[in-house]
Subunit: 95 residues, 2 copies
DNA sequence: ATATTAGGTTTATTATATAAACTACTTTAT
DNA sequence: ATAAAGTAGTTTATATAATAAACCTAATAT
């Protein structure tokens, strides 16, 4: 009846991150931080979890002299998101 | 951009409980336990949280000699669920 | 020179979800 | 009548997760 909800995505902040990346395919740390109103520490931790899971890729580079972290969603991330949305529907549209 | 997700509903088991009650308007402990595959302890805790929040009402009575706990969703519970679903959509349908 | 801002990470704290253990009672078997 | 097993939960403990606080390094402004 109820499908499992991927715990990695069933988190407000991580879901927001994935949501942004699904829409844009590339976003940097500061941009995501502003869109989500997250603290930097929290965002850092959650991005690392998504990266560990293979849902996003993280690239660290320098823009001029300042560091810059860019995130992209992976194929696995897209699949996981789609699966999560489908699972959620078993809760939102009860039969 | 992203709306807050009511933490009381953003929990797999509590969401499943509400989902069941939205559909049936009345369900007892054992029924919910079976539908959700939850352990009794976990379910007991989550039902109490939903009750405290005023999202469900809980009635304890005897069916013959055996105790029986019946749950119903409240108006506040219905409203909270609808609000939660609306908020979720800001994550699921990014613009 | 020092104060502030940018862009983070690491560590610590708090909250949450879950499971394990327990309570209280009933039914069934011996 | 007593013991064993089942029903319907609650309470307590533990593991995990989310969040915040503190910290770090370098750049820029005063």
């Amino acid at each position: 009846m109820f499908k499992e909800l991927d715990p990695l995505l069933h988190s407000q902040l991580r879901l927001a991150v994935i949501s942004i990346l699904i829409g844009s395919e590339e976003a940097d740390f500061v941009f995501i931080k502003e869109k989500t109103n997250a603290t930097a520490g929290n965002l850092s931790v959650q991005i690392e979890k998504l990266r560990e899971a293979g849902y996003i890729s993280v690239e660290k580079a320098f823009r001029g002299k300042m560091p810059r972290t860019t995130c992209r969603i992976t194929k696995e991330g897209i699949q996981a998101f789609e699966k999560y949305v489908a699972a959620l529907n078993s809760y939102l549209k009860p039969k």
